[in-house]
Each structure stands twice: as C-alpha cells, then as structure tokens.
Symmetry: C2
Subunit: 222 residues, 2 copies
C-alpha cells in the first residue's frame, strides 16, 4: 500500500491526501516529526521535509507538488492538472500562488505561529505576525472570489489541483477558526463545494491531540 | 517571437533562458522592474513577479517552473524533465531543492543582499546574512558533489532541468564571485560542463551596468 509521511496542519501534506483520495488510491499515513531530523527520514528525503510518499513498488517521491505531478502521471482516472499546455500552465500558476504566496503571507503567520511554535516549545506566538496573517488572508479570499466570478472553478471550467491546493491551505487556517468566511461569501460557496467532496472527509476527521478544531470545521453547512 | 519579462540576476529567469536556448527557440527579453508594480505588468501576472513568458500565440505563462513545464509540453526536441514518472519526480525534487532551499539559504543572503538592496536603495547589505549565505553554499556544493559522484548528471544519466536549475542559481552567485569553487572541485567540473554548452552563452554575456562580473565569470576555463 502507498505510504505517506506527513504532518497534520501541513497544507502540502493535505493537498497530497486530497489527490490520493480523488484518485481513489488506498494509502496509509505516518506522522514524521521533521524537527527531530531522524537519520532514517533524512535518508528518504535529504531536504528533511514532509510530505514524502512511498509508492507500492518502493519508489520514493518527495515534496507536495512533485508528488502530485507524479500521481497525475502514474494514476488515473482524470488528470488533476488539466489538459493542454496552456490550461496546465494556468493550473500550475495558481498552485504556485498558494504554495508560494499564501504559504508565506498567511500560513507562516497564522498556522506556524499558533501551532508549530506551540508544539515545538518555541515560545509565544508573535502577535504582529498573527495580525499580518489576519490582514493578508483577505487579499487571497478576494482573489478567489475574483476568479470564481469569472470561472466555475479557480483555473477554469473543471475542478483541478489548483482548487485542491487552495482548499488544502484554507483548511489549515479553518482548523484554527481564522478564516473570515462572513466577509467573503463567494469564496465560502466555492469552499463549501470542495468541502462536500468525498475526498475531503479525511481532512475533516483530523483531530490534533491538545488542539481540537472549532465546531464549524467539519460541518458541511458552516 | 516569444517575449520574456525578466530581471538580470534572477535564477528563475536564467533557468527559463537556458531552457529556451536548449530548445533553440528564438526569444526577446524585456527587463521588468517588478518593484515599480506597474499596473500593466500586474495585469499580466497578479503575483507581480518575473519571469513571465508571452508565447507567439499570445499565451501568457507566469513563474519559472510553470514556464519550464509549459515549454517542455509545447516544444521539442528532448524533454528537459526526463521520461517516466519516477525519473521526472527525481528531476522535479532537485529543481525544488534549488528553487526552494538554495534560493532561501544562498540567493536571498548573497544576491538579494548585495545586488537587489543596492539597486533598490534599501541600504547596506546585512553582513550576518552574507556570512550565512557564504556558509550555506558549501552544503549545496557538497550535495552536488555527492550526486555527481553517483551519477553522470544531477538527476541521472542525462542532463535535465535539474542541472539547468542548479547552474542558473550558481551562475548568479558566480556573477558576484562568491562561489568557492576551489573547495569543491567535482562541483566545479560539473559546472564547467554546463557552462560550456551553447545555451549558456547568453548568461555569460550578461553585464549589469554598474555591477560588472569578475573576470572568471565568462571564462570557460575558470
């Protein structure tokens, strides 16, 4: 069976879980405390980061976008990155938007400050960072709304890895109760569409010991 | 003709230039001073970053890895990202290593501090950052040597986008004269192989007004 090394509130790991579920691939998950820098794990991935996927034949694949491209090339049914070079470039542009900009402007300020610091015993969250993350997320939700006003899904008429990537990131912030859905009703509608997909169930069942999610997190009618 | 919006010492832009040259595609370049945040450019790429490529048919493609995947899907002759999902995953893992880790640990500390700060009038370079970049680069050169000790090129038996990506990053540091080649002879041999490719000529001809490269930069026998 496919094995996925992961961490709970890692958007990259969640994105891979969504793709595996969309492709109806069975997989097991193993938490990897990357900060312990175990030599066994560093031998798997010298970058020392999750996600790492071990395929059934033993192939090891490192990094969230690399894994998603690999799964799309290896496994059906439908391509998650779209068809046609121009469409694929638009899907990948939006993936990069969330894995790059959203990660730096929102995830690092909210999730890393509130959760990672606490679990690693790195002290109190930086309140300036949390305020910045809270401001920045509006820009991204507005951008989602701008896209959804023009398209059915973020990258076009079909649901793609761009939607799954954006939703994986937002789901981490939503686990903290920090997504201002009320200010962005169109983004909320789009998220509700993704959240109700069967592939999302695993994410909604996550429950980190000592850091339970707010009530609305797993509610499809939030 | 293909148009590439770029900046001189951007590893991502250099990587795209190498791929275009390897594929023997004619292109024009236009400098985009991204810090001016012109509305015309933001309309092309809302992320406000280079590289952005406008293909002959008007398709716009944003972001260095997105552009390289696009060019590989659109244009021959040989795929730069390898063949077979496992091989492609290894190429992409190494690309991510350099675009992620090398960028953060070396480029941000050396190139951004020494060049970008100066051109943007952001004050003196941070000497701690420069020292950190100077220490970090050894790890990456050693990793290149570890790979080259086991393989002909970074990702396997063929030259791929992993080599071009690593070389594009190193070429920016080499423009500053900050690559400690003498401590890493095997990495130097590998770089010499890439540097002597016809696709590299454009990069070696770069000459930034007010910041000339050291003498060895364009020398194939450095």
């Amino acid at each position: 069976m496919i094995l996925l090394y992961h961490l709970w509130l890692s958007p990259g790991c969640r994105k891979v879980r969504l793709v595996l579920a969309e492709k109806k691939l069975d997989f097991e998950m193993q938490i990897e405390k990357v900060w312990q820098r175990s030599s066994e794990f560093l031998a798997l991935n010298p970058a020392g980061e999750v996600p790492v996927l071990i395929d059934e034949d033993g192939s090891k694949v490192c990094g969230s976008q690399v894994i998603c491209e690999y799964l799309d090339e290896m496994y059906g049914p439908a391509p998650m990155i779209g068809t046609g070079a121009v469409e694929r470039a638009e899907v990948r542009r939006l993936i990069q938007w969330f894995d790059g900009k959203f990660q730096a402007e929102v995830i690092a300020n909210l999730v890393d400050e509130k959760i990672m610091k606490r679990f690693l015993g790195l002290g109190e969250p930086n309140s300036n960072a949390i305020r910045a993350g809270g401001r920045n997320i509006h820009v991204h939700l507005s951008y989602i709304e701008w896209l959804i006003d023009r398209r059915t899904w973020l990258a076009g008429e079909d649901m793609t890895l761009a939607d799954l990537t954006a939703a994986a990131h937002l789901s981490c912030v939503d686990y903290l109760g920090d997504v201002p859905w009320e200010d962005h009703p169109a983004a909320k509608d789009w998220y509700a569409r993704i959240k109700s997909r069967p592939s999302f169930r695993g994410l909604l069942a996550d429950h980190i010991p000592g850091a339970p999610p707010p009530k609305h997190y797993a509610d499809l009618d939030f």
